[in-house]
């Protein structure tokens, strides 16, 4: 009995620990205590912008091409190539760009946070911060969360633009069965500003989860370099699962009841 219950118990225990730790970080941001280290927050913004922007945009550009190609060939097979913009609009904004963003956030930012905090933990740097009278969670984790909130909405919206541009290139310039005006008409008809807002919310929830999970596993890493590696792997697994859960729930909540498609009446 105890044997098969041990694993779920461990999962529930881990989830509880992560939730508690995340709650502490969120409280530090919402109560604005994090502004005590606004300089560090700005530094983290810089790290995010310089270190992650191009790879996120690059990945989203590629998946944008993919959406465009899939949409063009699918609608051509149905004898309606002019409607390839429908597939591209939904694929880009609602699904692939958030997922691509989430994957790259998990792979680049999430694991980066675990590696950074984990190596600080095993080399006593976190203890050194604490004994200097500095709240290490506030300094290391809350600043990263605030920085991600400051930077990522803009980075994400630009990534959406990169995805749109890539789909346009694939449909109009590469496959070339739709005129630029025809593609744009359908493409913009099947999305509106609230869709962009929902997409940003979806991505920001993913980003928040990824940063919090990364902070948890990095801050609590132990057991030397191997322990840091293990924590990094665990965080990656959890973040990929969370990205898909959040993606699924976001689609259900934002477009499940009302697909917001101008079809029929």
């Amino acid at each position: 009995m105890g044997g098969w219950l041990a694993l779920p118990k461990e999962w529930i225990g881990s989830f509880g620990s992560i939730a508690k730790f995340s709650g502490k970080i969120l409280k530090q941001v919402y109560t604005l205590r994090v502004l005590h280290f606004f300089g560090e927050t700005l530094r983290q913004c810089g790290v995010l912008i310089l270190g992650s922007t191009l790879v996120i945009w690059g990945l989203v550009f590629i998946v944008g091409l993919q959406c465009g190609i899939e949409g063009a060939y699918f609608t051509r097979a149905q004898g309606a190539p002019a409607y390839s913009g429908v597939f591209a609009a939904w694929c880009d904004l609602r699904e692939i760009v958030p997922y691509g963003f989430g994957y790259m956030m998990a792979a680049k930012v999430g694991t980066g946070i675990v590696a950074e905090l984990g190596s600080m933990r095993i080399s006593d740097e976190i203890d050194a911060l604490e004994v200097m009278g500095i709240d290490s969670v506030l300094f290391l984790c809350a600043t990263k969360l605030l920085a991600s909130w400051l930077v990522l909405p803009f980075m994400y919206m630009a990534a959406v633009g990169a995805g749109f541009f890539a789909s346009y290139l694939a449909v109009v310039q590469q496959i070339g069965e739709v005129s630029p005006g025809g593609f744009s008409l359908i493409f913009w008809m099947f999305q509106n500003p609230p869709d962009l807002l929902y997409s940003v919310i979806k991505a920001m929830v993913m980003a928040t989860a990824i940063v919090l999970v990364g902070c948890y596993y990095g801050y609590h890493a132990g057991g030397g370099p191997v322990g840091v590696g293990t924590a990094t792997a665990k965080s990656m697994v959890m973040n990929i699962v969370l990205v898909h859960l959040i993606g699924m729930l976001g689609t259900q909540v934002f477009w499940g009841a009302n697909p917001r498609a101008p079809i029929g009446g």
Binding site: M120, E125, D127, A128, V131, M132, G133, D135
Partner: protein, 333 residues
Amino acid sequence: MTDTPRDHDDDLYADGYEGDGRDAAEPAPTPDDERLAGAGPAHAAADAPAAATSASVVREAPPSDDDEDEYRWHTGMNRPTGVPDAVEFVDVHKAFGRNKILRGLNMGLPEGKISMILGPSGTGKSVCIKHMVGLLYPDEGDVLVHGESVPNMTDDELFDMRKRFGVLFQDGALFGSMNLVDNVAFPLRQHTDKSEDEILEIVYKRLDEVGLGSAHDKMPNELSGGMRKRAGFARALVLDPNIVLFDEPDSGLDPVRTALLCELIQEIHEENGGCYTVITHDIMSARRVAEYISVLWRGRIVEAGPAEELFNSDNAFVRQFLSGESQGPLGME
């Protein structure tokens, strides 16, 4: 606050074995008796004395009732220094899972002196440091800093209290993302309103003191282990703390640099005063700088007192440890 047994280097207590002390006046067993204690089945107790003349690994151990032998050298004697204690441990117990590290530790670190906590590897010396600064909390007992109970402090009180401390970690614990100047300036930038010019003046002075004036723009990964330690020392002192803790400052250093570091500790202490506590198992360092010594073993104090008195102690364990001899109560176990 973290409460994870991250870096204590102790597996000695992994079996959960826990002695409860024996009359200190009881006749002292031979060194081999000591090695045999608790190592095997009970029926071979009568064979134990013969172990002195043969390989201990083939001998059977005395009965478990003799586990109390574990503390027969722990007189707990604390010779008075005439000054109040800056830090006090009151009957402190600490375990990590089944590993009992501190087992009723009573220890004081006198104000205004350079104290040393000496003891074999894995006896809980680094764990003591973490209790002093509130990185770990005792399972039982209390830790007092200038009379204030560390475990009962709120987070804000704890952070304030820590500003009175400077800690030199084993490898310096420099921040890898900052160069030397930024590392040393970090506490000043966070906790003072000094101008950048004033901060840099203090930082360069401290770096010069530790011989790193020419390496100020180097990153930690460009420094040798000894340089990182000295940089950590400069950072620990930059706020002029009342209490400075050194966690094995001599580990990994060559003898000359160890001697120079010890001299530096003495010079800075003469200049600034306060309670300096050095954790080490290097006897030469103890002879050089210690004014007060606490010998820690198996989670309790064996004896404590002014350095010259400890070096002349009659306690066989203290005598063996402070002379670094292989023969005596302390074996490889």
